[in-house]
Amino acid sequence: MSKIMLRQVYRGVQGFRLHTAASLASEINPAEEEFRTLELKTVRQEKRTMRDRKKTPILPPRYKRQKLDQNWGNVWPTARTFHPATVPFPVRQGYPATGQPTPDKWGNAELMKIPNFLHLTPPVIKQQCEVLKKFCTPWPVGLETPAKQDKHFPATVSTSSYLHSSPSLRDDRARIVTMKVSLKSLELDDHGRDKLLRLVKDHHDPKTDTLTLVADRCPLSTQNRDYCTYLLTVLYTEAMKTEPWEHEKNVADYERYVWEGSRSEAAARALFNARDDSPSEDVLTEYAKVVTELHNEGEDDSSVSRYRESVLKLVGLT
């Protein structure tokens, strides 16, 4: 019985408080069994049972029901967040806590955050390609190998387009156009090549022998592409021309060391001719090769020792 209810009972019954025990004891009359007993503390006969909640059965993870030869493309048709129960293989990701192994796939936020390519397995790609094929034209005949492709299409033009899910679709970077041309395809002679390299300077990559032109000065990519074409045309035509002042090029301007006509050649020939034991011309050609290599390829201990060997042969001290 709650305190409030007890307070009400005491208020209702006058003199009850003082004579509670006595009145109770005196009024008990075993003959009258219909007398209601005052129960101060009601005992609930039955406990109120909780509502039976439906227990959802925890099913085993889905991958246990997957067959080994299932079509994975149907299981994971599009890009979706990683779901450990659907993925049939164990995978671990993340930095382990001290003494713990790498966290497994269950409840792994790292795995869920990163993009996965489970929707792009090779069989799925193959299938998609098969479907896309009917929209494609056949690969042009005569362009099977990369060599043939480079031969017929030596220039590559690249642009990037950017998608925004925002009020505006525009991106300023989409106007940038890069054109790459291999210098071999331009078929320039020595003079033309030297002139072109002096004009372009850093835009030429010696390792791959490609010229890279980047245009971003115009607002539209088509305009920049036209500008690249124009630049290439101008560079090529200028390289093919020979100006009247180009004859003033002297030894100090040469981009590579040329042994023929140098003081080194004069000294070597003088020494060679002074020798009276008629050495072979190979000595001179080897010397020329070694000196040219020393200057053009750079000097190091091995090239200096090759130079020493060739000079020893030149002076007859082998």
Partner: protein, 400 residues
């Protein structure tokens, strides 16, 4: 080695027929055995060779030390040639010894086999700092002197560019500048090295030199009179140098003598800067020095019966051009064109045999005072500390 009288801390002993005073702690490190009898540990003896003529040194002598006679040292290197730190050590050891090493032997071998009818062969020693280029050059110079070559030896040409005594505009040529006192010093050096030889060869001047109204050198005078005149008259010393060099080239071309040009730091002749300031406060390019022009004329290929031996050292270049020790870089285009074709001879750090020999020599001389120097661990430590570099090794051992 006989141990003689004990005098306080010092013991006099005879080693290799020389009386030496050695500190007691070095001579035979004594250890007491259990029977309290002093037992001397054997001190390593340096690997030496008694052959003092470098032309008789062979590859069997590599790693051995050979001693230069004091008279030879005074005659050949009295005015320069051996670096000062090395000379100090030689004074401490009472002997001038140097190690026989491969680069010097190769060069000597090439010189012996050179065809003297051709323009002079040029042998250039190159290598990093402190590997032993100058000392190898000392060895080669000794050989050339013994073999009867007239020596034209320039110990430190970079000094003429950097720390000259006096530079004055030339009396004879308005375009040139003379080194007065430096030329005198060089002429004294030349005289000291070549007096006997020139007397025996009887080389004479071939043209008349008019110095002033009253002073002149006639035709047919011994060549040394030019040197004597230059030494007495500093004003004309540089011109005397030029004259001597011209005469020697002529004599060599006429098969009357063989001339060896030895220049330690030849790349210094091709540097574009000097410390001499003109009146307009610009620095004079060194190719306008008379003596530079004189020695550069020796590098031309218009004479024979000659040999040119030099070292290419990065310390002889100006500070900005010292990134590499390789010859083409240090010589620059001008030097390369002047010397090409030449034979570059690499000089490298000590190998195991030479390192062992160097440590043994210092132990033999009593220079290494620490008792652990000769142990295996001590040797390894010395080799590691010095990285097998001869100069670094010498500097480390100063304080051990």
């Amino acid at each position: 080695m006989a141990v003689r009288a004990v005098a306080g801390r010092f013991i006099s002993c005879i080693h290799n027929n020389e009386l030496l005073l050695c500190h007691r702690s070095i001579v035979g490190r004594t250890r007491r055995s259990s029977s309290t009898q002093a037992v001397e540990e054997p001190r390593p003896i340096a690997s030496r060779t008694v052959i003092t003529n470098p032309s008789h040194h062979t590859s069997d002598h590599i790693g051995s030390w050979y001693t230069l006679e004091p008279n030879t040292v005074k005659r050949l290197f009295g005015h320069g040639g051996i670096p000062k730190p090395y000379r100090t050590l030689c004074d401490a050891f009472f002997e001038s010894s140097l190690m026989v090493r491969q680069p010097a032997l190769s060069t000597i071998d090439y010189i012996k086999r050179s065809n003297l009818n051709l323009p002079p062969n040029k042998f250039m020693l190159y290598g990093n700092n402190g590997v032993g280029k100058t000392i190898s050059l000392v060895h080669i110079t000794h050989f050339l002197a013994e073999d009867g070559w007239v020596l034209v030896h320039v110990p430190v040409p970079s000094q003429w560019r950097r720390v000259f005594k006096e530079v004055v505009p030339s009396a004879t040529n308005p375009d040139q500048y003379d080194h007065t006192r430096d030329s005198v010093m060089w002429l004294q050096h030349f005289r000291s090295q070549n007096t006997e030889l020139l007397k025996s060869l009887q080389l004479e001047t071939s043209e008349h030199y008019t110095w002033t109204q009253r002073e002149a050198t006639e035709v047919g005078q011994p060549l040394m009179t030019l040197a004597d005149f230059g030494i007495s008259r500093a004003r004309f010393a540089s011109d005397c140098v030029t004259a001597i060099i011209k005469e020697l080239k002529q004599c060599a071309s006429q098969d009357r003598c063989k001339v060896a040009v030895v220049i330690d730091g030849i790349n210094s002749l091709f540097c574009p800067t000097s410390r001499y300031r003109l009146e307009d406060l610009t620095y004079l390019p060194p190719d306008r020095f008379t003596i530079f022009r004189a020695f550069l004329s020796l590098l031309q290929s218009d004479w024979k019966n000659g040999v040119i031996v030099g070292t290419i050292d990065k310390r002889d270049n100006e500070g900005e051009r010292r990134k590499s020790y390789l010859p083409r870089y240090l010589l620059r285009q001008k030097g390369w064109e002047a010397l090409d074709p030449f034979i570059p001879i690499p000089v490298v750090d000590y190998d195991e045999v030479e390192m062992r020999s160097a440590i043994n020599y210092y132990l033999d001389r009593g220079w290494l005072q620490s008792p652990h120097s000769g142990s295996d661990v001590g040797r390894k430590e010395l080799a590691a500390l010095s990285n097998h570099n001869p100069l670094t090794f010498m500097e480390i051992c100063k304080s051990i």
